[in-house]
């Protein structure tokens, strides 16, 4: 088995072998081919959107994706959330020595495939190799560049009382799936991570309504945390209907066993859409036609209040506050 060693990160011959033999091969495009210190991009017409994320996930190959796929989806989605059309990605690898070169190849292929689906080009990259015990197999940073061509502004501070909150599908799939696969818990759990590209769905939404106020993907911290961010940016409260929030039965079950709240679990293919009341139905309709929005639901309403709280109306009719995630999401066993 051929493995990555420190020599692959030395900047010398083996680094070039990796670049030419793997990255160049799968990411192939004329901009990446420039091989200079920076990549020069064709002129961009419109406002530029930029986002960056590092991806650290265990296991690196999981049910529903892999670290390569998620590192493209995450960044493409963040661009889409700002109403931008994703154009370019940079990719930075930090590899722990000992990673099988075949695993790296699989990851790179997955990045290339997902980037192609998203219509983005990988224009430049970087590879560092660290000693055994200084990483967990591989970490990937992607930075995305997109362009905003529409004349609308979307942002977490735009929610207004009366606006409706839509979610495009079931919550917690990614977080639950990863938790179940991490080995130590030893559960037999079949729900896949929802890791996917949302740029097409967002495109459909923005083609339908000019009254989209907020788009945001509830990743780390889950729905509850992300809505708290929005409530505080917009200085409004948000009222959710517990019964409208879609959660897969299996995810709900795992959460019951572990004593965790699915509203705090990470999602990697979900978007919170906050839209004016008059447009909510047509947005919901178009979302449900898109494969990424089949299970879309209106889950709540923006209400006037400067306590910036997120309220959950329970099935029984009670109300509770959903705070931001405090600390780490740990299984509660006792």
């Amino acid at each position: 088995m051929d493995v990555i060693t420190l020599a692959h990160g030395s900047g010398g011959k083996l680094t070039h072998q990796l670049i030419d033999g793997i990255f160049q091969q799968y990411f192939d495009n004329e901009i990446l081919g420039q091989k200079n210190d920076s990549a020069l991009l064709p002129e961009v017409n419109g406002k530029i959107a930029v986002t960056t994320d590092s991806f650290v996930i265990n296991p690196i190959f999981f049910n529903g994706g892999d670290i390569g796929k998620i590192s493209v989806c995450g960044t493409v989605n963040d661009l889409a959330m700002s109403g931008a059309k994703p154009l370019y990605l940079t990719v930075g690898f930090i590899i722990e020595e000992g990673l099988a070169i075949e695993d790296l190849r699989k990851i790179v292929k997955s990045i290339a495939k997902t980037a192609k689906e998203a219509g983005v080009k990988i224009v430049t990259g970087d590879t560092k190799v660290v000693e055994q015990g200084n990483a967990d197999k591989i970490y990937i940073n992607t930075t995305g560049i997109g362009v905003v061509t529409r004349d609308i502004y979307i942002g977490g501070e735009m929610a207004e009382p009366g606006d409706k909150v839509i979610i495009n599908g079931t919550l917690g799939d990614h977080g639950a799936s990863i938790m179940a696969q991490r080995g130590d818990l030893d559960f037999d759990f079949s729900t896949e991570s929802d890791c996917c590209l949302l740029n097409n769905l967002i495109e459909d939404i923005l083609n339908t309504s000019n009254n989209v106020k907020v788009l945001r993907d509830p990743t780390r911290g889950g729905l509850a945390t992300t809505l708290n961010e929005i409530a505080s940016q917009s200085q409004v409260a948000i009222e959710l209907e517990e019964e409208q929030i879609p959660i897969k039965a299996e995810v709900r079950s795992l959460c019951e066993i572990l004593g965790v709240d699915p509203l705090y679990l990470a999602n990697e293919g979900k978007v919170i859409v906050i839209v004016s009341e008059e447009d909510v139905e047509k947005v919901l309709e178009v979302m449900r036609k898109n494969p990424m929005g089949e299970d879309a639901q209106i889950i709540g309403t923006i209400v006037d209040s400067n306590d910036s709280n997120v309220y959950l109306k329970t099935g029984l009719g009670g109300t509770r506050i959903l705070n931001m995630l405090a600390g780490e999401l740990l299984p509660r066993i006792c």
């Binding site: 037999d188 759990f189 039965a249 299996e250 709900r252 079950s253 019951e256 066993i257 066993i333 006792c334």
Partner: protein, 72 residues
């Protein structure tokens, strides 16, 4: 205290059983509920079955709920 859920026993082998809870499956210890059989429900807490669920009693309780709910 103590997070625990009723799970269905779908396989029994010696001191362990495979249980199902809404699709989630797991191997659990059944030393505390010696007479457990496939199809039984048991209460699962920290990897061990704590008690067998009495299906008749469950029905009775639900009946009591309904009675109270519909009462007058």
């Amino acid at each position: 205290m103590c997070v625990a859920v009723p799970v269905e026993v779908i396989e029994v082998s010696d001191s362990e059983a495979t249980v199902d809870f809404g699709g989630v499956k797991k191997q659990v210890n059944i030393l505390l509920v010696p007479d457990v059989e496939v199809g039984d429900y048991v209460l699962l807490h920290s990897g061990c079955a704590m008690q067998k669920l009495d299906k008749e009693e469950a029905e009775k309780t639900l009946e009591l709920f309904r009675e109270l709910a519909e009462h007058e």
